[in-house]
């Protein structure tokens, strides 16, 4: 880890402290500007392993709605996000789709899954 100093805003609560996060000589992470302990944890994770919940939609064939929304069931390491989005926005599944259906398992070996966040009924041929 290099000795970069980063400015960030803590979003663990609405106060929004401006944090300065850096790495000390011994490799430990130093957080300044925080008003409480949660700021230290936030700054540390943002520097070492930032994660985000990803939401997107994918195409549905024969569905009453043309797309179904999905989310990762846990925050995903940021490095894996572009690859995941690329894959999801080029995918298609067939209706009917149930809420909470697993679309992808173990994304990038992280154990995080992609699940649907809405059910989509099938359009029946008349």
């Amino acid at each position: 880890m290099d000795n970069t100093k980063r400015e960030m805003v803590c979003i663990a609560c609405p106060v929004g402290c401006h944090l300065t996060v850096s790495t000390a000589e011994d490799g430990s992470v130093v957080v300044e500007g925080n008003r409480c302990q949660r700021g230290v944890e936030y700054g540390r994770e943002e520097l070492l392993a930032p994660k985000r919940v990803v939401t997107a939609t994918l195409a549905v064939s024969r569905g009453k709605s043309p797309r179904v929304p999905v989310k990762t069931d846990a925050p995903l390491l940021k490095a894996f996000i572009p690859g995941l989005l690329d894959q999801v926005y080029n995918m298609e599944i067939a209706a009917p789709v149930a809420l909470g259906m697993v679309v992808l398992e173990n994304i990038g070996g992280t154990g995080v899954r992609l699940v649907t966040t809405r059910s989509v009924l099938e359009v029946r041929a008349i």
Binding site: M8, I11, Y89
Partner: protein, 420 residues
């Protein structure tokens, strides 16, 4: 024409209408609900990001998940639901306290429902370019942020490749991230105020994460392009005046407007419902009833909410009030509630000293460690310390009989709520 009789008609099947209908059906009232779209859920269906339900369901859900949970509960109750049905008109019934609601449905034609009470739950609509008056040509490629959100998230259509967003409200910020995630380049977010209109969490996760520049105290002074948007001119504001010397041009093919929401009260007006100029929603008493007896309002049609959890709370309570109204309960004397310093508005507009009251208020300032003060006849009767206030976060406040009973019993009974 189909003719039906119910206790209550609920107009709108978003989170507000669904919660009110559930609450009424659970109290044994017969309910008809009209929803313009083919499915229930309202605006939640296009808000596919997470951040819903932390208060109500104690977990973080996406909009569609929240909507589906609520509609499952509704389905289990005996509520008559008409989807694809738009309420076009309402009028007083010829006899008694009743109202007649007319909806146009593609499947059933005109449906006429005679009811004893109405719940307005039509949500809000977006301000558009006309409302903010940006000069320039009228090319294609200018969308409101919410419409773009629906196009991308529901229809799967991507409106452009290079985007400038006007206004830093939460919908605009969330669309900045969405457009980036679907492969577009967001070149700027432009905000006239010196501070962002949206939540800090959205500034961080939707702009900073992608190094999207946020121009505070700037305006889009012109939109260029003949058939399609080609560029915008961005101008800094100095002391409230545009400094045209320092204007600059940003090429783009799409402009998204995130410049605010307005309660959609077109049909409310048919019954003569009086509106509050501060909120553009109805003026309501302590039981969320409008000036027209038997007509109630809740959710975004009453005032624009930032959290769906508050919509659910308010609308569930609205359902209780309507049920009590149908049972003949009428409020005791009611007194005015007014917004004090640093408060844009307080809702409801009246309170009732004989029972518990719940208020929602919208602050006008950004402040850490603010104090909320409730004053009655000039005396402070209650205070509450808030860690942080900002205009994008509504504040909830409950006052019980005890709070209201003390102090001057006579005199000016106006209640004032202020932030100091």
């Amino acid at each position: 024409m189909r003719q039906e009789h119910y206790d209550v008609a609920v107009i709108g099947g978003g989170s507000a209408g669904m919660a009110a209908a559930i609450s009424l059906a659970q109290r044994g009232k017969s309910v008809v609900l009209f929803e313009r779209e083919e499915v229930l859920g309202g605006i939640l269906l296009q808000c596919i990001h997470n951040g819903f339900g932390l208060h109500h369901f104690k977990e973080e859900l996406t909009g569609p998940e929240y909507a589906e949970r609520v509609s499952k509960t509704l389905e289990e109750l005996p509520v008559t639901v008409f989807v694809g049905s738009t309420v076009m008109h309402m009028e007083e019934a010829h006899a008694g306290e009743g109202k007649i609601v007319y909806a146009y449905s593609r499947e059933h034609g005109i449906v006429m429902a005679e009811v004893r009470a109405v719940v307005l739950a039509m949500g809000c609509r977006e301000r558009n370019r006309g409302n903010i008056g940006t000069p320039g040509t009228r090319p294609a490629g200018v969308y409101t942020a919410g419409l773009a959100q629906r196009l991308v998230n529901v229809e799967g259509y991507i409106p452009g490749k290079e985007v400038v967003i006007v206004g830093s409200g939460d919908i605009g910020l969330i669309m900045a991230r969405r457009m980036t995630w679907v492969g577009a380049k967001v070149k700027a977010v432009v905000e006239i105020q010196p501070y962002p209109a949206g939540l800090t969490r959205n500034i961080v996760q939707c702009l900073n994460d992608f190094s999207i520049p946020l121009y505070l105290s700037h305006i889009v002074s012109e939109i260029h392009g003949k058939n399609r948007v080609e560029a915008v001119t961005i101008t800094p504001m100095v002391d409230g005046m545009p400094d045209t010397q320092r204007s600059f041009r940003v090429d783009c093919d799409t402009v998204l407007l995130s410049v605010g929401l307005v309660p959609d009260n077109e049909v409310s007006k048919k019954l003569g419902v009086q509106l509050n100029p501060e909120t553009n929603g109805a003026l309501v008493d302590s039981r969320l009833m409008t000036n027209v007896p038997g007509v109630f309002a809740c959710g975004n049609v009453l005032h624009v909410h930032d959290l769906v959890d508050f919509v659910t709370e308010e609308s569930t309570r609205c359902g209780e009030y309507v049920a009590e109204y149908l049972d003949g309960v009428r409020p005791a004397a009611q007194h005015r509630v007014v917004a004090g310093s640093n408060v844009k508005y307080v809702l409801p507009n009246w309170y009732d000293r004989s029972h518990d009251n719940r208020f929602y208020l919208r602050p006008m300032v950004v402040k850490n460690r603010a104090e909320l003060q409730v004053r009655l006849d000039g005396h402070v009767i209650k205070t509450k310390v808030l860690k942080h206030v900002q205009p994008s976060e509504m504040i909830a406040l409950a006052l019980d009989e005890k709070d209201l009973g003390d102090g001057a019993a006579q005199g000016d009974l106006r209640l004032e709520i202020a932030i100091v």
